[in-house]
Subunit: 283 residues, 2 copies
């Protein structure tokens, strides 16, 4: 078993199973044929052909587009065709920070295959006897990855809040990290990937943060999303990553990026070139 399998799980999708989702002349996502068929009931909002799903160009501007699509998504939800409703608006945009074409409910992001954004925290303790990392186990009730191993704190990135502010907020909610402590985190880059998952096409960029925690820190979950926390020697984290898919698929990618940045993987390992390439989406 190898870290490469964790990398591979984050990449690879079949364009032939999808149609481009086009807004204002730009291909902003990729919609499965099944979801495209559902959308074909909602003309003239969506113009669905065999080749593409086009948001009606007469819908002009952020607010108009967002309202029209929200109406469709609510009807899909009420018919039972859109599960996992979160009531969190996500921007439809190719790069974080650019002006979004519209905003849509989070649950619909992978259905349209538009880019999703998230923030992940590597929370670790630098002890005299070695590096240790805080790991969470996700609640069995989470809609994605129930029971999987996770970061100390992580979350999706909705509209209307900065990346750092959102990460600090997740630190409080998921792990009870006081704001003064969370504010010591540093931003250390991003990983990106595109893959087919049960919830749809995940075309994601995750912004990564590192936080060195004091030895006496103990996390406390406050939002019911975490079942347990563990403080593991980094060797146990690596061993668990290599052994199987106990970690949520994208958490594995962020931790492998951490291992690379900390020099814990050796450049001459035969898998190294593919691992470092696989931390960032290509093409």
């Amino acid at each position: 078993m190898s870290l490469l399998e964790r990398i591979a799980a984050c990449h690879g999708w079949r364009p032939e199973n999808h149609r481009p989702f086009v807004v204002d002349g730009a291909a902003v996502g990729n919609t499965s044929h099944g979801f495209a068929r559902l959308l074909s009931d909602f003309s003239p909002c969506f113009q669905v052909s065999d080749r593409a799903v086009v948001l009606n160009p007469d819908l002009d501007g952020f607010a108009t587009r967002s309202e029209a699509v929200a109406e469709v998504l609510l009807r899909l939800r009420d018919k039972g065709d859109l599960g996992g409703w979160r009531d969190e608006p996500y921007p439809v945009v190719r790069r974080w920070g650019e002006p979004p074409f519209l905003q849509i409910e989070r649950a619909a992001v992978p259905r349209f295959g538009v880019r999703g954004f998230g923030v992940h925290l590597n929370g670790f303790v630098e002890r005299a006897d070695g590096l240790q990392m805080w790991i969470g186990r996700r609640s069995r009730n989470k809609p994605t990855g129930p029971g999987k191993l996770d970061h100390l704190a992580a979350g999706g990135q909705p509209v209307g809040i900065g990346l750092r502010r959102n990460m600090i907020k997740e630190c409080g909610e998921e792990a009870g990290i006081p704001e003064a402590l969370a504010a010591r985190m540093i931003s250390v880059g991003a990983v990106s990937y595109c893959c087919e998952r049960p919830e749809g096409l995940r075309d994601d960029v995750l912004y990564c943060f590192d936080l060195a925690l004091p030895e006496d820190f103990r996390p406390v979950n406050t939002d019911g999303e975490v079942e347990a926390f563990y403080l593991w020697p980094i060797e146990k984290v690596v061993e668990t990553l290599r052994a199987g898919d106990d970690f949520k698929f994208n958490v594995a990618l962020v931790i492998i990026d951490f291992l690379v940045r900390r020099g814990l993987l050796e450049a001459d390992d035969p898998d190294y070139p593919a691992i470092v390439e696989g931390l960032h989406q290509r093409g």
Copy 2:
């Protein structure tokens, strides 16, 4: 001025100015039309059409291909059509470590637009009054980037030597770093880019290493490739990167990656998403 300009200088090439270079059915590079015309004199080794430059498929295996191409390249050199000869064999391969299709002289790598590999060292000092980085100024006699600012040590990656071993060797030659000290370096990932430069198409992956140096360390150049060394506060490095193109184009990319990994750029900086995306080639 901004770091984004340094990123932009490493990306963007015009496919319409190139033809795919095909070996054993695989597109392994992109050759300019001008260089393709030079190669058309060397049939049957090269089969040159308007659409591609194909290495004769009858040339089977690494050794046969390498010898046939070497003969052509020597004749181009002797005619004055291939400058900057280094006498260093480079592998023709899409990913470092995979079995190479053939090997070619380093000077020809950007002419064929095949992937090139290198190793770069961020050499720094963590002082009580702040982080400082060792910077070199390239000799005015270097074939690429004469007089530009550079890393403490860096070099191309030829065949027949590991990445780490090559980096340690460059540390000795370029900066007189004793092997015992250089061996403390850690491997921290890679940057990648593809752009047109005077020497041809640079489609490169640079493996990055970090080395924390003691305060009393002083570099000594032993191979005549470095004119001077400077120990600069990291703020001065950033300021110089922002101010213009004093740094060699790809050195800027590796230092920006260092700044990102060390948390010296803030996630909510409007340029941050494009900067972290631009450290790795896309598509």
